[in-house]
Amino acid sequence: MTILVVAEHENGAVAPATLNTVAAAAKIGGDIHVLVAGQNVGGVAESAAKIAGVAKVLVADNAAYVHALPENVAPLVVELAKGYSHVLAPATTNGKNILPRVAALLDVDQISEIISVESADTFKRPIYAGNAIATVQSSAAVKVITVRTTGFDAVAAEGGSAAVEAVAAAHDAGKSAFVGEELAKSDRPELTAAKIVVSGGRGMGNGDNFKHLYALADKLGAAVGASRAAVDAGFVPNDMQVGQTGKIVAPQLYIAVGISGAIQHLAGMKDSKVIVAINKDEEAPIFQVADYGLVADLFEAVPELEKLV
């Protein structure tokens, strides 16, 4: 049994989500190979070769793969997949974009966002915004799976010494082209990898008021997230959304500020170790999942909290 992990990488580095995905592969058991597809990704491949538990790194270095366009990357993965028992990718927007295309080309159903490995063919995954957990068995010859990174503790980024092998295949479907991107720039930790997350909701009132959360976050070394309501209202950009269809986070500490606690939001953060809710409405559903609730005006409580931590 050999497992292929499609690596996520950005700015010449292996993304942390790859380490959680390798951890899921290790739970399944068998040899683990990692595919690094992109352009000028030799450095990424070398880093991937050091990931604990990885036996081999396949590197597809070609202009066709530069922005991970699924029309080009999926045929590459399909071509390689035939020799593997499982193909795994993190359930990032990139993994979600590419892997179902791979599954369909292999004529198998994908298992999305697994949170645990029961056996080599059986996995648990949340459905209905996490209000139910399904145990799903796959009979596919090649099992195609995306991994919810919060379900698996990352393996060590160092310690391995895998062989690096170049893959010659270049698939350029010529159907799509990268035009541009606007990436959020932040010195704060990445939302899905942060130990502490401070999130704001509709109660923040406007985007400018998020400065109170940024100040608190900087004091705590935290990332800043938001509810769908805050993103829809235009307070903050989409990459900050935590929830069923946004980012899934499970930090040590999650501080929800001015967030009522819709089930769609809870789906994205209820696996956090400790949850704090600050809301002036004592009936807000967020208090039903909070370890510590504070009924207060956030515009008084948050600056005070910033002073005291």
Binding site: S112, A134, T135, Q137, F178, V179, V231, Q264
Partner: protein, 249 residues
């Protein structure tokens, strides 16, 4: 150009579902059902393309039970021109739905297919990408902006790091994210008019589509419940608890 929109009948997003006592699934008896919210956004986008003169005809399709006619009628009331129901009582996985949609695409030859990025019941986020694979079309998933320009469509996508724009050759597949648009409500006159719009029913057999899946759900359980904690009286008490009790700061 012709636009095909796929919609799914799902449990209403306001319903908190319960797992059945025998762990065979969730209890959907007497539960309010609606169009999947992402599919509503897909219908709205198609209607806006028609209002702009880009789309000439909107065909809405659903793969599911006979009751999904309700959601198709809703889409017709919102502005779709005609509807197709691929009717089956079977529980479907994404690949089966994508295969049924592929058969409809082959027949209808749309230039653009718009789907929701995920259904809020199965939370799979697969069907659009799979349909793109089966048709060989380019895909623009998690769209927050769609602009048709000549023989291409520019799609701005919500990605983890921010936004990405890709140019896709037509025909293409687009899946919607939350910020693409705000769906309208159907007016009463339009609801009445929708009753007279054509709705065709076909079977998967007639389309020559297999609904077999490599996935089998063995059981469905309730998640571990999170118990409510305590209310603190002040910020000072909160900080004390976080430092000394929870030890997370």
């Amino acid at each position: 150009m012709k636009v095909l929109v796929a919609v799914k009948r799902v449990v209403d997003y306001n319903v908190k579902v319960r797992v059945k006592a025998d762990n065979s699934g969730v209890d959907l008896a007497n539960v309010k059902m609606s169009m999947n919210p992402f599919c509503e956004i897909a219908v709205e986008e198609a209607v806006r393309l028609k209002e702009k003169g880009v789309a000439s005809e909107i065909v809405v399709v659903s793969v599911g039970p006979a009751t999904a006619q309700e959601q198709l009628r809703t889409a017709l009331a919102l502005g779709a021109d005609r509807a197709i129901l691929v009717e089956t009582a079977d529980e479907l996985n994404s690949l089966a739905v994508a295969k049924a949609l592929k058969a409809v695409v082959d027949k209808e030859q749309p230039q653009l297919v718009i789907l929701g990025k995920q259904a809020i019941d199965s939370d799979n986020n697969q069907t659009g990408q799979m349909l793109a694979a089966l048709t060989g079309f380019a895909q623009g998933t998690f769209a927050s902006k769609v602009e048709v320009a000549g023989d291409k469509v520019n799609v701005t996508r919500e990605i983890d790091g921010g936004l990405q724009t890709v140019a896709l050759n037509l025909p293409a597949i687009v899946t919607t994210d939350l910020r693409l648009n705000e769906p309208r409500y159907a007016s009463l006159p339009n609801i009445m008019k929708a009753k007279k719009k054509p709705l065709e029913t076909v079977t998967p057999d007639a389309l020559g589509v297999s609904l077999a899946s490599t996935n089998k759900t063995l059981k469905v359980e309730a998640p571990a419940a999170r118990s409510a904690g305590i209310k603190v009286k002040s910020v000072a008490e909160l900080v004390e608890k976080l430092k000394n009790e929870a030890k997370v700061i």
